[in-house]
Structures are given as structure tokens and as C-alpha cells.
């Protein structure tokens, strides 16, 4: 196969790529041309004399900036302090954005060294020794409501996970927690079981960067179980697997209750995120009569035996192919067993 055929841009057809690009650019241009009422934007935090990147930062950047000092400096030690200018927090035209003191406190005692020659810490230091609730006050005074509505009752808030445990405020424009390609580095910092599961052969495309933890979970708290974005496991799954929502003419009971009865969304060794290989998974509920009593076996060759095929190929779903539910009205008992 030639290079041209293999190049992804040609592989799917040039039109396939051009369409979304063109649509994006056209729509983008259209919207960009809309008149903007600048008066709706909160009053600006314009920089004052002596300020470097944030309003009133002059008293801080006098030390936390080494542009005039050629020796090893604080800028080398903490180069990201000024990079807040690249972020939403550094958009001084938005009057809601903070000053240094809004988050770190006025910190007047920090401005000069004490009798012992040491400089006291700022009023609010984001260190491991600072209680999470005190650190979070700097954030939650603005970031409340909306997606943060349930923060106060969330598992993270009540386990001492501070906002800055995950978010890098002085980032260089890409906060790892908000970038879907790097988000798992943050989440797996604590969630080791999920890291192990994501490494299994069957997984959602999270390691490939096509999904992120936050596609299903709201780490700021939610009304759903396990901080899921929706009110239940199934409602969360239906965001992408809408065809499973049903209802079906023939419902399979566990499907209607909770997808996680059979699937582990983070990853499994069995195919299709199934928690166990078939027929064992099915035999957790169905093992007492007919071919459901079968033992697992690897066949020596071709077979049409229902009882022998439960562990090979698609397992029980070789025949029960519509296992999530069927819509047939055929007057035949097999349709109620998800075979049509």
C-alpha cells in the first residue's frame, strides 16, 4: 500500500476532513463578526504603574521577578509565577480576575523580614501544611454554582483534596487537569486502581486520549453516585450509548438497572468491558437449568453445540445476540431470550 493511501488525510477522503474544517472556520468567522457589547464585561483590572502582569502585583513582582538580576534568582526557582498571565486568571480586561492578594492575602508581614532574618509566609500559602479548606477559600469565593454546585458535599472536598491538588493556577496556558490528553496524570496520582484497570486489554479510549475521566465524572461533586456527571450510572452511559436507553419490548433486567452490574467502565481483561468471561458472567444469575449449566471448555474444532460454545467466540451472546434488549414481536419463546 502506497504512502498516499496510508496518509490519514487521504485515508478517510479529503472531503471528510475538509467538511468539518470548513464548517468550523465558516461558523467561527460568522460568530467572530458579531458585534460585542463590551459594556457587559465586568470592569477591567487594568495594570497600574509598576505592575507586571496583574493589577497591583508590583509589590509582589518586585521580588518574584528577576528580570534585572543576572544571578540565580527567584524567577529561575519559580518561573511559573508570572505565567499566570497566560491564563484566564491573567486576563486583566475581565474585572473578575484576581490580584495576587485576592488569593494569597495582603501578606503585609511577608513584605519584610522578621527579627530572625526570615520572611514570614504569605497570609495564604498553598502548601501541604495549609488546610485544604483554607486554600480553597481563595477559589470558592469566585468559583461557585454551576459545575461547582455540589463541591461542599463532594468526596474530594471532604477528603482534604484542595483545588490546587489538581489544578495548576500559575500554569503556562495548559492546566493538566483541564487538558484531556494529560488529565489522567492528575487523576491517577491518587486513583491507582483505576490506573491499573485502564491498562487492561479492554478499556475506554482514555489512554489513547479520546476520552477523559471528566467525560463521565465531575470531580467537583455531583448529584450522581461516584461523582458521575449524570444522576445515575445508566444516565451517564447513555450520553454516548444512547441506543441502550430503550426501553425495549423485551427488557433484560440488569440492563435497565445499572450497566456496571456486568461492565467495568475503567477496564477489564474480558472483552467489551465485561467484568468476567462468559459464560461465568451470565452464570452469576443463570446457571441452574438447560444449557446454562454448561462447563467452560475450549473446543477442539468446529461445533454448533450451544452448551459447548459458551466460552468461545462471543460466548453466550453467540446466540443471545441482542443481550441489551430485543424489539421483536415474533410469537416465539426464543425472542424473549434476546435472540431476535
Amino acid at each position: 500500500m502506497g504512502m498516499r493511501e496510508r496518509l490519514g488525510i487521504f485515508k478517510g477522503g479529503l472531503a471528510r476532513l475538509l467538511w468539518p474544517v470548513s464548517a468550523t472556520v465558516l461558523a467561527f468567522g460568522l460568530v467572530s463578526g458579531l458585534a460585542v457589547n463590551a459594556e457587559d464585561t465586568p470592569a477591567s483590572n487594568k495594570l497600574g504603574k509598576g505592575d507586571t502582569v496583574l493589577k497591583g502585583d508590583g509589590k509582589c513582582t518586585g521580588c518574584h521577578d528577576d528580570s534585572d538580576n543576572p544571578s540565580p534568582t527567584m524567577l529561575e526557582e519559580r518561573p511559573w509565577i508570572l505565567s499566570i498571565a497566560k491564563t484566564k486568571h491573567g486576563t486583566v480586561a475581565d474585572g473578575r480576575t484576581p490580584t495576587c492578594a485576592n488569593c494569597h492575602g495582603e501578606s503585609t508581614s511577608h513584605m519584610k523580614k522578621g527579627p530572625d532574618g526570615k520572611r514570614p509566609a504569605p497570609d495564604r500559602a498553598f502548601k501541604k501544611t495549609t488546610p485544604a479548606a483554607i486554600q480553597d477559600e481563595a477559589c470558592t469565593s469566585c468559583h461557585k454554582g454551576g459545575n461547582h454546585m455540589f463541591w461542599s458535599s463532594s468526596a474530594h472536598a471532604n477528603r482534604g483534596v484542595a483545588c490546587v491538588s489538581c489544578h495548576d493556577i500559575h500554569n503556562s496556558g495548559h492546566d493538566k487537569a483541564r487538558d484531556r490528553k494529560t488529565q489522567t496524570e492528575v487523576c491517577f496520582g491518587c486513583h491507582k486502581e483505576q490506573r491499573a484497570q485502564m491498562n487492561r486489554p479492554s478499556h475506554h479510549p482514555v489512554p489513547e486520549g479520546k476520552m477523559a475521566c471528566s467525560d463521565c465524572h465531575n470531580p467537583h461533586g455531583s448529584s450522581g453516585p461516584k461523582q458521575l456527571k449524570k444522576d445515575s450510572v445508566n444516565e451517564t452511559c447513555y450520553m454516548c450509548h444512547t441506543e441502550k436507553r430503550g426501553p425495549f419490548i423485551h427488557n433484560h433486567q440488569p440492563v435497565t438497572e445499572d450497566c456496571s452490574i456486568c461492565h467495568n467502565a475503567h477496564g477489564t481483561t474480558a472483552t467489551n468491558l465485561l467484568k468476567q468471561r462468559q459464560p461465568l458472567l451470565c452464570q452469576n444469575c443463570h446457571s441452574s437449568d438447560s444449557h446454562r449449566t454448561q462447563l467452560m471448555q475450549q473446543l477442539p474444532g468446529r461445533s454448533t453445540s450451544t452448551g459447548a460454545l459458551g466460552a468461545m467466540a462471543r460466548g453466550c451472546t453467540n446466540c443471545h445476540t441482542n443481550i441489551h434488549g430485543g424489539n421483536s414481536t415474533e410469537n416465539n419463546a426464543t425472542v424473549g431470550r434476546f435472540r431476535r
Partner: protein, 697 residues
């Protein structure tokens, strides 16, 4: 630990930048590098030397050959108006491409546009003579002889293409703190999924041609004390196909003979909700949410429109289904004492399936009816109370209790006892209570961690009997009595600024309540996860991090033996071991390099016994995935880098799902078309890629 790593990366970056450009740069230039928004475009080409059926399921590079590597991250901000304009593309040259565009006046209004393409390729090849893949009429082809592989090689898979549009506007001119946002997405999913004909085990393909549209319009109100959010969320699913006629060459669709396989109906759901938080005092916050969801299906039943398909006279010709879901949740967080934090939640969740209980299977014209529809409803009332008390020296104690009380539908098929339509026993009520206790050590610069213990107990009402005495001997997994014990230990040790160590130990054990009358089902399960992460900064230019993870999962079940003779049992034991290693640093002022190694080994073992006969054990399965990634990035000048990536992957598995015991490919039975499935158990591939990265401000 993340702070250390972050700090290292930025330090290394700043150091490299300063060394490279220091002679030519003024102090203002330093400031610009660090504080001005930058953009980049990278273009290059990469080459895989072999197919990657297992490792390339999702990334759009399954096949060997060359690929265009094209990414862009273009972003600008007008500092005077706070207006952001950005265009970000990822994998533009691959079938896994993403495009995100955003224009917003920060704090005022904004709009986003997204495109996201996701492939999913089956990790095997199908050799088949089936005619009509991807269509609603599939014809069984000429029989393929054993081992002949004379059919066509088919690659099954699906692809999603999703378009999104978002809009945000503050409505301060109406009321300070009020904002509106709306999002719309349109997704097409197309392809073919491995399916069955529904008779004996025979190959068929489910044609996938789905369209899912979702829309939400939300008003948010935020003030110092009160926050409210409310709106509408709609979701529409459309399936271009509704029925597959799977026939032989001699049969005719619409006549007696073919298998008629149904597909999911179109469905839709509409939700209205309101949620809120109110800060009664600086130390007490109340939250609530109320939502109502109305989900429906209203579709003509395709099997009712084909005269040749036998149908009970009372079965529906139009399926009119309705599920209404109500959620009411109240929460309270408070600090009644300086050292005590309390969280309380009450929740009512009602999923009410109001679909008629249709007659589906029976003797025409007057019955009896032996098969009914099964609308299933669940009402769950749950509560949570948790307290955290701060002790001395950074210790705190967390104690909590969760309670859940669920009412569940017990389907009633017939008035006979036992009910001939009840294929498993059901329960009308299910209760679970969970106690949690955790001791946490925090607020230390060097050592933090926690030790947590969880105990839960689930039981419920008596079982409504299954359809016969044999079926009634099992307690289904998800409604069986269960006791769960779980312990988790975490420790985060950072003895120096350069070194960070994380230890995580988790173990949990489930024991299911069996009885003499109901001895079958899952008896016990156990899961363990142990992991160790170490990060070390060698010097200002180099950092290494490594982790090891070991996990085991065991489950033990019993059931009636084959033919109803004796008792069989099975235990499945899965063990995973994984290692990760990352090394990154700067060789000199212009050259950055890095290496990332991952190795994962998954082992699965199943042991079966049977009291009434001999058992031939199934082989253990071991799968190993290794990936070695190397990169080097060379600064050509201050605006351009050259990056080289090298990746080597190895996948090896003896999973016999698609192999007979003599090692030959799985092939459907001798009475079928002889479709075979071909899996490559050893996959070794290497990738080389080169990119030119242009950076600008």
C-alpha cells in the same frame, strides 16, 4: 509529587530557554517568554512498520504505513478587551482527529465549535462469505471448508463523528450574577459490529447507523449566598435501521424462513432540572437538586409489519414506551464546631417505567399468553451522614454511614405458581447499609496518608420464586445478600524536595449469603491493588519517575452441574502486573529528550470442578503489552523545534477465545457458512516520526 514534577519541568524549560536565548534577549524578552500566550503548529510524518490490531483500536493508526502528523494550538488574546480566539487541532491527519475552536470575550459571552472523530476497530479479522454486510438484508454465503479461509477478509469496526456547538452569555443586564449557556451536539456513529443470527451460533453483522443529538440550555445564577442552576436537557437517538433479515440464498425476505433480527428503536429523553446551594452561614451550606426526566419510544414494530412472522394477536404493532424519572436530593454541609465537619445527604430517585405490559407470546387467538413485556421500575431512597473531626498533629478521623432502601419491580408473567416467565428469582426490596471509618494524617510537608475501613451489608425481602425449582436455587449476583469489607492504606512520603514516594494498598472482600434453599450463585469475591510510585529529580536537568502496580481479582461461584447432575463450581483468578518508567531531561541547551516505558501483564486462570463428572480445565490466559517511547526535541531557533519520536510496541496473548485447542482459527460450526476469525497473537510494531514545530506569539 505532582508539584515537584511540575516545578522540575518548568525549571528545566526556563533554564533551557535562558541559556539558549540569554545572550540575545533583554529582560523584557524573558518576561514575554514566560507570560505571553504562545501558539504552535506542528507538521510531520510518521511510519508504522506493521499492523497494530490490538494496540491501534482507537488511535486511527491500526494499519502499517505512513501517516500525516498535523497538530495546531493557535491562541490569541486581545489584552485590551479580554477577547480570546483559539483554534486547536489534534491528530488532524488521522482518523482520530479533533478540532476545537473558541471565541469569547471573557466574562461576557463566548462560542465554541468542536469536531471529534473516534474510530473503534475490532482487534481481529473476519473471513466470511456473508453477503450484505452493513445492510438490512444479509445472505449466508457459500460454505467455507474447514481451515480454508476462502471467504473475504473483513475488518469490523465503528466510527463516531461528533459536532458540537456551545454558547455562553452573561445576563448581568437582566440581573447581576445571571448567565445563560447552551450546548448542542450531533453525533453520527457508523460501521459494523460482530453479531449473531440468533438461531445457532452463526455469523451476522449488526449494521450501525446511529444519530444522536443532545441539547442543553441552562441558566445559572450566582450570588454571594445563593447559587441556582436550572434548565433543560434533551437527547434524541435515531437508528437508520430497524430490522435485519438474515437469510440463506434459497430464502426470501418477507417470507417464512429467514431470521428477523431487531435493532434498537429511536428514543428520546427530556429533562428539566433545578439545583442550588445556599450558604446559611460561613460554615453551613445547603444544596439541593430536583429533576424530572421523560423518556419515550414511539415506533412502529417492524416485525409486526411482516405477515410471514408469526405474531400473537395481542402483540403491539406500535411500541409506545415511557419511562419517567424523578430525582430529589437535599444536602447539608456544616462545621458545628471548629474541629468538626459534617455532611448529610438525602436522596429520592424514582425510575418509573410506565410502558404498557404488552402481551407478546401466546396461543392465538385467545391465549393463554406465555410471554409478556416487562416494564421495570426502581425507587431508591438513600441517605448519608459523615463527620470529620480534626485531632492533634495533623490527624483527622472520618466516620460515615450510608443507607439505601430500594423498591424494585417483580415481573409477573402468569398467575401460576411458580411463574413460568420468571427466569431468575427477583426481590421486591433491597437494602444496604455502609459504615466508613478513616484515619487521615495530613498537613505535613513530608508524610501524609490515610487508613480507611469500609463495611457494608446488603439484604432484602424474600425472593419471588423463579420459574422452576432448579432456577429458584440461585441468588442473582446483584440482588444477593452481601457483606463487603474493604481496607485502603495510602502514604505519600516526600523526605526531600527531590524525592517523592507514594504507596497504595487496597483490599476488599465480598461474601454472599447463601442458604440451603438457595445455594447457587456467587459465593465470594476478592480484589487487591498494591502500587508504589517513586519520583526523583536527579538534578536541575533530569527527572525520573517509576511505578509498579499489582492487582488481583478473584470470584467464586457455584451452580447445578451439566444436565442438572451434581454441583459444579468455578473460580476465576485474574492477576495484573504493570510497570511504568519515565525519564526526561535536557542534554544541552538545545536538546530535550525523554523515554517512557510501560509493561503490562494480565493473567487469567479459571478452575472448575464438578461433583458428577470429570472436568477438562480451560487453559490459562496471559496477555502482555509493552510500549517503549523515545523522543528528542531540538531547538532549531527560538521559534522552531524539530522533534523525533520512536515507539516500539509488543503485544502477545494466548487468549483462546478465537482459537481451537489445536491452535487453529475459530470457525463457526460445520452446519454454518464456516466464517472464521483470525487473530494475530503476537504483534510487534515500530514507529518513527519526525515533526517540525513552529512557535509564535
Amino acid at each position: 509529587m505532582s508539584c515537584t514534577k511540575k516545578r522540575f519541568e518548568l525549571t528545566a524549560l526556563a533554564t533551557a530557554l535562558m541559556v539558549v536565548y540569554a545572550p540575545a534577549m533583554a529582560a523584557d524578552k524573558d518576561l514575554e517568554l514566560i507570560s505571553k500566550i504562545s501558539s504552535s503548529v506542528s507538521v510531520g510524518v510518521g511510519y508504522w512498520n506493521n499492523d497494530r490490531p490490538q494496540m491501534g483500536i482507537f488511535d486511527g493508526m491500526r494499519d502499517d504505513g505512513a501517516y500525516l502528523l498535523l497538530d495546531a494550538d493557535i491562541i490569541s488574546r486581545n489584552d485590551d478587551t479580554g477577547t480570546w480566539t483559539s483554534l486547536s487541532t489534534t491528530n488532524l491527519g488521522l482518523d482520530s482527529r479533533e478540532i476545537n475552536a473558541e471565541y469569547n470575550v471573557q466574562g461576557n459571552w463566548g462560542v465554541t465549535l468542536d469536531y471529534n472523530q473516534t474510530p473503534r476497530e475490532a482487534p481481529y479479522t473476519v473471513n466470511t462469505s456473508l453477503i450484505g454486510l452493513g445492510t438490512q438484508e444479509q445472505v449466508v454465503g457459500p460454505a467455507i471448508a474447514t481451515g480454508a479461509l476462502t471467504g473475504a477478509n473483513v475488518q469490523l469496526g465503528t466510527e463516531r463523528q461528533k459536532y458540537g456547538l456551545g454558547f455562553y452569555k452573561n445576563l448581568n443586564f437582566l440581573m447581576p450574577g445571571l448567565a445563560f449557556k447552551a450546548n448542542y451536539s450531533h453525533e453520527n456513529k457508523e460501521g459494523n459490529r460482530h453479531w449473531g443470527r440468533g438461531g445457532a451460533a452463526e455469523f451476522a453483522v449488526e449494521p450501525i447507523d446511529y444519530t444522536t443529538r443532545q441539547f442543553e440550555a441552562i441558566f445559572d445564577y450566582t450570588s454571594k449566598l445563593l447559587q441556582l442552576s436550572g434548565g433543560y436537557i434533551g437527547s434524541w437517538f435515531e437508528n437508520a435501521n430497524d430490522l435485519v433479515c438474515s437469510r440463506t440464498a434459497a430464502q426470501t425476505c418477507g417470507a417464512v424462513g429467514p431470521f428477523y433480527l431487531t435493532l434498537p428503536f429511536d428514543n428520546q429523553a427530556h429533562q428539566a432540572y433545578v439545583s442550588g446551594a445556599y450558604h446559611f452561614t460561613p460554615t453551613m451550606t445547603g444544596t439541593f437538586k430536583a429533576s424530572y426526566t421523560h423518556a419515550t419510544v414511539d415506533e412502529a414494530v417492524p416485525t409486526a409489519g411482516i405477515a410471514a412472522i408469526p405474531r400473537y394477536v395481542g402483540a403491539p404493532t406500535v411500541f409506545d414506551a415511557e419511562v419517567n424519572t424523578t430525582l430529589v436530593q437535599l444536602g447539608l454541609t456544616a462545621h458545628p464546631m471548629p474541629k468538626l465537619n459534617m455532611v448529610a445527604n438525602l436522596r429520592y430517585h424514582d425510575v418509573n417505567d410506565e410502558t404498557p405490559r404488552y402481551d407478546l407470546i401466546g396461543t392465538n387467538p385467545a391465549g393463554p399468553v406465555t410471554g409478556h413485556g416487562t416494564p421495570l421500575s426502581y425507587t431508591t431512597k438513600s441517605g448519608k451522614l459523615e463527620g470529620t473531626y480534626s485531632l492533634q498533629q495533623g490527624y483527622s478521623l472520618v466516620a460515615g454511614i450510608d443507607y439505601s432502601d430500594q423498591e424494585r419491580t417483580v415481573p409477573v408473567g402468569s398467575t401460576a405458581i411458580p411463574d413460568s416467565e420468571r427466569y431468575v428469582p427477583f426481590r421486591a426490596d433491597l437494602d444496604e447499609i455502609t459504615y466508613r471509618l478513616q484515619l487521615r494524617k495530613s498537613l505535613s510537608e513530608t508524610l501524609n496518608g490515610s487508613l480507611a475501613y469500609l463495611y457494608s451489608d446488603r439484604d432484602g425481602s424474600s425472593f419471588a420464586a423463579g420459574r422452576n425449582a432448579a432456577v429458584d436455587q440461585i441468588a442473582p449476583l446483584h440482588i444477593a445478600d452481601r457483606e463487603r469489607n474493604k481496607i485502603r492504606l495510602t502514604a505519600d512520603w516526600a523526605p526531600t524536595e527531590a524525592l517523592g514516594v507514594q504507596l497504595n494498598l487496597e483490599t476488599s472482600r465480598d461474601e454472599y449469603g447463601m442458604s440451603a434453599a438457595r445455594p447457587h450463585g456467587v459465593h465470594e469475591g476478592e480484589a487487591n491493588v498494591y502500587s508504589l510510585d517513586v519520583s526523583y529529580r536527579l538534578n536541575e536537568a533530569w527527572q525520573v519517575s517509576a511505578w509498579y502496580s499489582h492487582d488481583t481479582n478473584e470470584i467464586y461461584q457455584t451452580g447445578r452441574g451439566p444436565g442438572g447432575a451434581g454441583i459444579k463450581d468455578a473460580s476465576q483468578d485474574d492477576t495484573g502486573n504493570a510497570v511504568g518508567l519515565n525519564l526526561a531531561g535536557t542534554i544541552n541547551s538545545r536538546l530535550k529528550v525523554g523515554a517512557d516505558v510501560s509493561w503490562v501483564k494480565e493473567e487469567s486462570s479459571i478452575i472448575q470442578t464438578w461433583t458428577a463428572g470429570a472436568v477438562t480445565q480451560v487453559p490459562d490466559i496471559t496477555s502482555t503489552a509493552t510500549r517503549i517511547k523515545l523522543f528528542g526535541e531540538y531547538a532549531l531557533n527560538k521559534n522552531a523545534d524539530l522533534r523525533i519520536d520512536l515507539i516500539h510496541e509488543r503485544w502477545k496473548s494466548d487468549d483462546w477465545t478465537w482459537f481451537f485447542s489445536d491452535g487453529s482459527n475459530f470457525q463457526y460450526g460445520t452446519a454454518t457458512d464456516g466464517t472464521a476469525v483470525i487473530v494475530d497473537p503476537k504483534q510487534n510494531t515500530t514507529f518513527a516520526g519526525i515533526r517540525y514545530i513552529y512557535k509564535f506569539r
